[in-house]
Symmetry: C2
Subunit: 361 residues, 2 copies
């Protein structure tokens, strides 16, 4: 029996520029079958929440450009459940809209907010964690974030330090949020047992997050409070088109989580990866016997290992003497880049824009 | 005034497997605009002989599969001047057919035989050399080959050693033909001044080559002598379809030039390259300021030099940390290979066949 007050908000507006050219402005990472499983990352995000939240209460928030992709990939979702942002304003305005929208439908609702482009491998453990989280936020005035048990000294993630007092099974008060550490600090974090990866998955009652926004981000909450009579009505979209672009672009972490005092973390270990980089995709994909990862292509390798090939349409890729590279072929763009230099890809995208306009973006 | 007894035979049946996947079975190297000049290698071979041999006496010998490509690329050539081999049998049977064919049209003819897939940069010097060569073979019972003044200790070419006695301006008797040397031997060759690159361009009277074939390759000459009444008539093609495949596959060098005693070399220096390898294509193509060669593509490079990119359709190629590689993208096949390992490409083509059949050949 699925609780009728429980909602899910899938955030689906990212543009995925770190995976250019495989991920393009017109079809970002969450809309791609990134692991070659037959389901896109968005579809997998939807699938895994279905046992916990009824599909009538799953909302997708995305940029209006991506409405056709969302409808194509999630045909079971009602149009009314797709919230189309008229502008990109980071996660705080996105979550605020979803909260005011849900509160208009059900003032007693609780909600889980999840990215659409992460990988979770152990779905049963994910379900259990979400159910425990709902129970906690429904009986506490709590902003809950999911913290992932770290398995390596990862320098690409933010960390959450837990306080010593345990509130409930696997749930502690948050002591601090930290930025991405350097390697030596990440090793200290890993050994301490007090630090967890910040997953970007949040849970709360709608009233709790609305109160928190009113206290810590009044510029944003004021916009939605002003429009509160339009939510859940036929004029909601018009109100959003006019007022959403006026919100400042800010993350929910920065706007609320790092400021509020009622912030808790549920520590979990369900095989999570944010797939934020080619290297993390390589680490999470099955390798062939020569130690290479091939996405959607045939591969013949000679003296080549540690590479990831993301190539479309069953192309044959023949490679000699390549170690630890990203090879991404998007039809009109071919990228060959050392994995160690993948932070350059943003610069490359920019250089492509400077030299060739929007053609290859 | 162009001499009416002078013929040209352009050999155009090669499959160019060393340039796979850019050169494919369906469109080998000679049919590609390899240097991005707007003319294919075949068209350039045709263009450069036009001032020496009338177009009515230029013959193209090719595999019957390539007849449509030849007609498309050389629309001025009469169908009767395209000799279609029903099977691949190397250069000796190809040249024999051309000789018997021309002899039926003009028993006093002389001919130049040239590959269709080589690069010659100084066309005026080429014309002068061909004219001198015609004059020599027309007044001597000579099998003449063109030897290129070497400019580097190239290990990829065969060499011709000249004898000390000069017959005519730049024309000497051949002392030996040698196989591809190793580097130290190639350096000795270069310093000696006696060794020239074997260009694969030959000149002779048709009667001289027919006699030489009768003496040194009687199995081949017997086939054509048997059909001599059909050459130049409506039944020539039928005779060839039935008898050509029975010829042994052997090169003219091996069948005749290395055996005959009346072999001469005209030493020339007209900027020749056989474009037999990616490295030689790299060496002969204009480099951009980062030291890379881009064929038909846009290029953004980072820490990358010494590479050759042969990519179709104005694709954008973005490359980080690649030095001295071949990157060839043929739409359904992508090859990335160190230039130093390009001799592996034949093996790769074979592996592609073993694994995927004819799909990618």
């Amino acid at each position: 029996m699925i609780d009728p007050h429980r909602y899910c908000v899938i955030m689906c507006g990212g543009i995925g520029s770190r995976f250019w050219p495989y991920s393009r402005t017109a079809r970002p990472k969450q809309f791609i079958d990134f692991l070659g499983t037959g389901r896109t990352l968005l579809q997998m995000s939807y699938d895994r929440i279905l046992s916990v939240v009824d599909k009538s209460r799953i909302l997708v928030v995305t940029n209006s450009d991506y409405a056709p992709l969302v409808k194509e990939q999630l045909p079971d979702i009602d149009d009314a459940n797709i919230l189309l942002e008229p502008a990109r304003r980071n996660t705080a305005p996105c979550i605020a809209w979803a909260a005011w929208h849900i509160a208009a439908l059900d003032p007693d609702a609780s909600m889980v907010v999840t990215p659409s482009d992460h990988l979770i491998t152990r779905e049963r453990e994910f379900e259990d964690a979400i159910c425990r989280g709902f129970e906690f936020v429904e009986s506490n005035d709590a902003l809950l974030t999911l913290g992932i048990q770290p398995t390596r000294p990862e320098t690409g993630y933010g960390y959450i330090q837990v306080g010593s007092h345990t509130e409930s099974e696997n749930i502690n008060r948050v002591k601090t949020f930290t930025e991405k550490p350097d390697l030596s600090l990440a090793e200290v974090f890993l050994q301490s047992g007090e630090f967890f990866w910040n997953s970007g998955i949040f849970m709360w009652k709608v009233q709790t997050i609305m109160d928190a926004l009113r206290r810590h981000a009044p510029d944003i909450s004021a916009v939605f409070d002003r429009g509160c009579e339009s939510f859940g009505t036929g004029i909601e979209n018009e109100f959003i088109r006019e007022n959403f672009p006026g919100c400042m672009g800010i993350s929910i972490d920065f706007a609320v989580m790092e400021k509020a005092r009622n912030v808790y973390v549920e520590t979990v270990g369900f095989g999570w990866n944010d797939l934020g980089t080619w290297s993390s995709l390589y680490d999470n994909s099955p390798r062939n016997k020569s130690g290479n990862v091939a996405q959607n292509c045939h591969l013949l390798t000679y003296d080549s290992t540690g590479n990831i090939f993301a190539v479309k349409d069953d192309k044959l890729v023949v490679v000699d003497g390549l170690k630890d590279y990203i090879v991404a072929d998007a039809g009109d763009v071919l990228l060959i880049c050392r994995k160690s230099e993948e932070q350059r890809i943003k610069q490359m995208v920019n250089d492509a824009r400077v030299n060739f306009g929007e053609t290859y973006l």
